[in-house]
Amino acid sequence: MNCKQVEPSLAAYCDGRLSGRERLDVAAHVAECARCASASEGLLRVREVLQGLPGLDPPAELTTALRILASRERVRRVSGAGFGSLFGRWALLAKMWADDMMRPVALPMAGGLISAMILFALLVVPMVDGRGVSNVRDVPTPLFTEASFVSMGPFGLNDDDYIVVDVTVGSGGRMVDYSTPSGQQWVNNPEVRKSVENALLFTVFNPGTKFFQPKAGKVRLTLRRSQIEVKG
């Protein structure tokens, strides 16, 4: 090996990083060549000198500053000050604020709301229903009852009579007014009409009730010779 070949390997040789044949070759050249031996020695000395330099001791205030820095960063990491978690923290604050505001009134509010719903279901719904026309198929509720037929006044009908009347029953259980559905022929017959009116005047009804108080209602009567159908 010549000096040019050895030169790039000198530092590695001084650091003991060459192995096997190459180390032997470089060592042999260094033993022969005074220039390379001097260079190698110089490099070794430089390394020794540098290793002999005392380490720089950090000042005490640096240690303190680093501890403060670490403390801040640790808190930041634990509390999570990332951009994403910033919104999370705001959301948490808003939730806590809302909880603090709502907790004292939560129970009364819930109680009030449930009571209002029960009252609404019991009272308001049947009221709003407002059934003007009697319908026997309706399920009777204690708060709302329809007028009903009790007994018929004395009157006679011909064989072919088929009479349908809608009777408006007053709160006293007597007829207040009546009307006839369209297509009824008997209305044009004064005799039949008179006898029907007389009979209705003496007919007794059971008035409907609204909140346990009698009220006016409507009853549809179908009169035949042999039977009376009552709706309402």
């Binding site: 790039p8 192995s19 190459e22 490099l43 020794e48 540098l50 290793q51 380490g55 720089l56 670490a70």
Partner: protein, 213 residues
């Protein structure tokens, strides 16, 4: 070229434990990190900067980056190498951005600020004359080191002062192994020439073989 490749564990259990502690925000992990790396990082940064009094600021920047980037560290290199890389980069940035302005300022501080008083105390086994001589030598060496090209200085400091392997230096500086070897060689040669020149100017200088304590 055949070389004795130094093998090292990419990341040992202790480093892993420390990293997990840092990620979990454990106080003890932060304290361990500071105790373990404060002195080496300060030593490295102090040697790389021409003005060691600025080392404190840079070291704080280094540790801030370590704390902030610990989540991004995936353990592909060992913890020490990663930290040294951050330190070298920070020192490099500091020199690049602030060096020009600082150079024009006149420092009022003592040049020895940042060194422990222990380094100035006479050793019990050395005569006062030897002690002064040694101090002079150290000052000369530091000055010579400071005059080196920054690229060579980084390589030489990492190899001869921080005692990193060639592979670790390549990883820290993110350079090919051949370039690292070349820089170490050229850095040492430049330092040798600089020291010889100063030796000629300063007769008190002499080579004193020392063992590493």
């Amino acid at each position: 070229m055949t070389e004795q490749l130094e093998t090292f564990e990419p990341q040992d259990g202790e480093d892993q434990f420390l990293l997990e502690g840092l990620r979990a925000g454990q106080e003890s992990a932060y304290e361990t990190l500071i105790q373990r790396f404060q002195q080496p990082v300060y030593n490295l940064v102090g040697r790389l900067l021409r003005d060691p009094s600025e080392a404190c600021d840079v070291v704080q920047e280094v540790f801030l980056k370590i704390f902030r980037k610990v989540d991004a560290f995936r353990g592909e290199s060992c913890l020490k190498t990663w930290i040294y890389r951050i330190a070298v980069n920070e020192a490099h940035n500091h020199c690049r951005w602030y060096g020009r302005h600082r150079r024009q300022e006149l420092g009022l501080d003592d040049a020895d600020e940042g060194r422990s008083y222990r380094n100035t105390l006479p050793s019990a086994v050395q005569s006062p004359f030897d002690c002064v001589l040694e101090q002079e030598n150290h000052v000369l060496i530091e000055e010579a080191l400071g005059r080196l090209n920054p690229s060579f200085r980084e390589a030489v400091v990492l190899r001869d002062i921080e005692d990193l392997s060639y592979e670790e230096i390549a990883e820290v500086l993110q350079l090919p192994l051949g370039t690292v070897k070349s820089r170490i060689l050229r850095g040492r040669e430049a330092l040798r020439k600089e020291l010889e020149r100063r030796l000629a100017l300063a007769p008190a200088f002499r080579w004193t073989p020392q063992t590493v304590e």
